[in-house]
Subunit: 348 residues, 2 copies
């Protein structure tokens, strides 16, 4: 809480007395963790080069949607921070999804997937949007028929799941996407700093990091993904207005049906946050500094002043990482057996 | 007309008497032209590495659409043959476009762009879908405001148009896209064969090529793009049914207002045709062999038999080329000045 009550004069003095970067790093290492230098393993899904390649093709293939319009990459666009930069995604039939699309980058490190954590891992997550009527509006049967109609996919599934007699399953579809997504990790200046490169963060960014830890942001946004590890009520101290926290979306309550989980969401992982506006599950806030101030008020009861907010934003910008080079895939051509795309909207 | 009236027994004899591949190539070289080994130049638009890179970013940037959902690549997807494999594209507000999306691959070699040739070049073409209400539904002003709001784009336009004091214009936006699209050329086995590699085409494919020339397909589908060079009435000999040639679309007549141009369309360029179903401006035919038979009837008054159609399809498959490796771009992040995406449908 070093900076919370000090006058601006005292801030200057405090700067001079800042712990050496090494001490700050020691504190930070208790809270955060740099990205690994290798692709993380995922449960029950050995990652192989074949599976990554297959998963990449599936990730970019719009024929995984009923309409042939949307791929995973439509809403988790690797060109734009791994999300779609929309308030909430537009999907099948021009319907709007209920929540802001989270970034796929580094998502493998989240404790669970979706804003309410209803999918335990990326494979489970991958099955959701494909079937959601407002997103890709497809069915597992139609996905499988589509994949089986193209020989390259038949070969790629066989190579990716070599011990299985019938490798093209919806489970394996999801596992291949999970394997690919596990490769989407983005080392950032903050990782370089955590790894010992003192020059990786400048004074303003370090001041922002100190504030981030001392103000208490870190109590929800910690760990390898600077968030994505736990569930917290949005509006812990002060509930934001319905413009930001729409009343109709009760968050994790819909998953657990536990009263304590009303308006509870997974703390957003903050890697690449500077390039993934708009913010919050509602996508109602476009400016990162504004989002920081709202978080201070609603979650910490803190009035984060202008300078502090700038410093915290400077720190958050050091979480913008390098996206791995992606060679755009060439997908198999449809055959006469490929189910035809349909943009028809089926009301449930 | 070597194969048109022969019995199947005679076909076998004819095979033995086929002109040497070298002679067939000489004939073919009069009609077709292999792709060049270098990026073609385009009029009034010197192509530079900077301009190509900028054009690639623009081509993949969904923020060039009003909604933030569609990029050029949405309907001209480099992963799927440079088109969207839909009957007609789905665009802004889930509206359906009037005609099948043509491939962007090798489009630089077409005499003019769009099915009715209403755009003289790719730069003029690029301005169309961005503004079309059923496609990207944007305005030049909004495109420019979007581009000017992101420093990387400001820098990239300055580097691409170094002699201009105000380089971010809608014209230059289109020129950069044209420069990128000029790089999207796909050398195919047919090029290797035209260039002298006799083994590049097998006997069936060569028989298909002979048929393609002798039956008269080549009278419309010639040149470097095996089509894309001239305008012809769809239904020259026999008008296909309204299921394939919808009556409401009068083709080039809408451009020239000349009675002779009713139902006249630019002959489709056939490079990559095997991977760009469905076919015709209506997108109503999914099977290439069926499309070949329909063309025989409607344009040539020829009943192309099953074996001939298979051979012609085999030849057409040799036009499937290698798409240049595309590294997926990382796009600049929005700023507070970036116009917000809007999926709103404005009725004209």
């Amino acid at each position: 809480m070093r900076f919370t009550t000090v006058s601006s004069l005292f801030v200057i003095a405090t700067f001079a007395a800042l712990p050496a970067s090494a001490d700050l790093r020691e504190d930070a290492m208790d809270m955060f963790k740099p990205l690994p230098s290798t692709i993380p393993s995922v449960q029950d899904n050995p990652i192989t080069a074949d599976k990554i390649d297959l998963g990449k093709a599936l990730f970019f293939d719009p024929r995984m949607s009923a309409s042939g319009v949307f791929s995973c990459n439509s809403c988790h666009n690797l060109a734009t921070g791994g999300d779609d930069n929309l308030e909430t995604s537009i999907g099948h039939g021009w319907q709007k999804g209920p929540r802001n699309s989270p970034t796929v980058l580094n998502a493998v490190f989240n404790e669970a997937q979706f804003w309410d954590g209803r999918a335990p891992d990326l494979a489970a997550q991958a099955k959701g949007p494909v079937q959601a009527g407002v997103e890709m509006a497809n069915t597992p049967d139609n996905v499988i028929a589509t994949l089986k109609s193209m020989q390259d996919y038949v070969d790629w599934f066989a190579a990716s799941f070599p011990d299985e007699s019938d490798p093209i399953t919806f489970d394996n579809f999801a596992k291949a996407i999970e394997a690919y997504e596990a490769t989407l990790i983005t080392p950032a200046p903050f990782d370089a700093w955590l790894n010992g490169d003192e020059a990786a963060l400048n004074e303003t960014e370090l001041a922002g990091l100190s504030l981030f830890m001392d103000k208490g942001c870190v109590s929800c946004h910690a760990g390898i993904n600077v968030g994505g590890e736990g569930y917290y009520p949005f509006g812990l101290i002060e509930k934001p207005g319905a413009d930001i926290l729409p009343e109709g979306d009760v968050g994790r309550f819909a998953v657990t049906e536990t009263a304590d989980d009303e308006y509870v969401f997974r703390a957003a992982p903050l890697r690449n946050i500077a390039v993934t506006a708009p913010y919050f599950h509602s996508g109602k806030v476009w400016d990162l500094k504004t989002a920081v101030v709202i978080m201070g008020q609603s979650q910490l009861g803190e009035d984060i002043n202008d300078e502090e907010a700038d410093q915290i934003v400077a720190f958050l910008q050091t979480l913008t990482g390098e996206v791995p080079e992606v060679v755009y895939p060439i997908l198999p051509a449809e055959t006469s057996a490929t189910p035809r795309p349909s943009g028809q909207i089926i009301q449930n």
